[in-house]
Amino acid sequence: MVDAALVVSNLAYGVLLGCVFAVIAHGLNLIWGVTKVVNVAHGEFIMLGAYGAYFFNVWFGASPLVIAPVDAAIGLAVGFAFYFGFLHRELKGKETIGLQSEMVTLVATFGLGLAISNAAVRVFKGDPRAVRWDPGAIDIGFMTLPLGGLYVAILSILIIAASHVFLTRTYLGNAIRAYSQDISAAQLIGVNPTYVAAIATAIGFSITMAGGALLTVWVPTGIDPYLGHLYAPISFVIVVLGGPGRMWGSLVGGLTMGIVIDVVQAVSSVSVAYATAFFLLIPVLLIKREGMQ
């Protein structure tokens, strides 16, 4: 007989975990949806955001919730630099991104990720660093939920909701959506493609780095420079699950991943849980027929 309370508390944990997954994948989702470029170095920027949280925590004793906006501001600058360093050359003047350009961006961001993660090993050292912040736990009848995870989940949902409002209710957001749908038509109505793509990339990076800060709450054993090698693939699966460019898609994909990992882990082991979550990508791609000929 399965214990109902155990199932519910596992689901609740999965939902909380899923929310933080959603926010770390959200930046990738935005950039992928708007510029059609997949940033292979996505995980490295999550990792940098997490280290931002670690250092601000050590220096000022700030909690990840407070650091997230600081990381987001840094992310804006990093995103602009990334756009003009990597994407502008391939995107400018083009109406669709061809397979050749796509391959160049995949390979270039792959090299960037390799360089960043290994530079991080030299700079931050390989030992895990824990971010000290524990607001305690809350009792809800039959189960106990970590307050840190709860706050992070709420903030994650707020970030995703805010990006949805920004994209659908503001002029700039509508311009970004117009660009993502049809670049030449957007230009016809006076949208500056470079400006819009750069802003979208910068916002994507700021969400990614803020997500890295929030993620530290879920890595109690400590963050290390290889953090991205796990969370980038998770983000890829989430974005495919939800559909690139669909803002609520991050939440759908994130919650699916969080619940799958948590439930499978409860009935078997961590390895089986992650293997299941990763292999999930293939049937999803086949069923959605996304990216297929």
Binding site: R89, L106, L114, V121, R122, F236, F278, L285
Partner: protein, 315 residues
């Protein structure tokens, strides 16, 4: 049907290089030790990835899976059945081929970034699956004992593999199938509209690349006498393989050879110079980024552009 070898200056260069490597093999081994064999293993891996990523433009992050399957094939036959290493290499190659057919039938249906992501995610899935299977050592690995150390057998086995790969790359590019591959790399939809069987061509190349990666992985296990999943399935190897063909020149005949030599020598020099330890992958990463953005044709492509007289030889 007549099968042509498409002789030309570029073929003579390939044959010359490998003839030379065969002739001076024992001397190289005396002078540099097993470094030479490891370098050839890297070259074999680079050539195998070049068959799919270089020739078709499909970025494959999961190549290490085939290498790992080959390594395990040799490891299990050698430790459990006490077989000779050579049948183990053949088994590794066949299993690499079989897995490539299986994986390729599914993932080659995805294009561009989706294929790259599916391949990256499959590696992590496989890695976690292996950690969950106790028969495969649960992450502790298997130690192999071949009795004696056989540097010459290592050398000539991997030499033969690289030579076949280099020749096959040359031959595929020039044959009828090569036209189809080039058309498919340029524009897959247009190629299909012209009657190119893109799905079959991609699967042929992918399964061949799996075969050779499996064989190279088996030789790798044979030379290191140790199987540890985090190493054998580490994404690091996939990254190095990609770096090699990007630096050397995607889809070229000699690019994998040159790229593998550069990447391997870089990591060797960095690993043996105390001040530089740990900086190799930073340099390789930056190199890959710069090459991708500014020299997408790699070193071979750059030389061809700068020195037109070499164009007939370097292809």
């Amino acid at each position: 049907m007549k099968v042509s070898l498409y002789p030309g200056p570029a073929l003579y260069l390939v044959v010359g290089i490998f003839g030379g490597l065969a002739a001076v093999g024992p001397l190289l081994l005396l002078g540099f030790g097993s470094v030479v064999t490891t370098l050839l293993i890297y070259m074999a891996l680079a050539y195998s990835l070049n068959l799919i990523t270089g020739l078709t433009g499909y970025v494959h992050f999961g190549h290490v899976i085939f290498m790992g399957i080959g390594a395990y094939a040799l490891g299990v036959t050698a430790s459990a059945f006490r077989l000779d290493p050579l049948p183990g290499v053949l088994l590794g190659a066949s299993l690499g081929f079989a897995f490539a057919v299986g994986i390729g039938l599914v993932t080659l249906r995805f294009r561009g970034a989706y294929f790259a992501i599916a391949s990256l995610v499959l590696v992590l899935g496989t890695q976690n699956a292996i950690l969950a299977i106790p028969q495969l050592g649960e992450g502790r690995g298997i130690f192999l004992n071949f009795g004696s150390f056989q540097p010459l057998s290592h050398y000539y086995t991997i030499w033969a593999i690289v030579f076949i790969e280099a020749f096959l790359t040359y031959w595929i590019k020039r044959g009828r199938i090569g036209y189809g591959i080039r058309a498919l790399k340029g524009d897959e939809d247009a190629a299909r509209a012209l009657g190119v069987d893109a799905a079959r061509l991609k699967l042929v190349l992918f399964s061949l690349s799996g075969l050779f990666a499996g064989a190279a992985g088996a030789v790798y296990a044979w030379t290191t006498s140790n199987l540890v999943p985090p190493v054998n399935f580490a994404i690091r190897f996939s990254l190095l393989m990609l770096a090699m063909i990007i630096i050397g020149g995607l889809g070229t005949d000699l690019g994998p050879l040159i790229g593998a030599a550069i990447v391997y020598l870089l990591s060797y020099v960095f690993a043996t110079t105390p001040l530089l330890i740990g900086f190799d992958l930073i340099v390789i990463g930056v190199l890959v980024t710069v090459m991708a953005l500014f020299l997408p044709q790699g070193i071979v492509g750059m030389v061809r552009e700068r020195v037109p007289s070499l164009r007939k030889v370097l292809e």
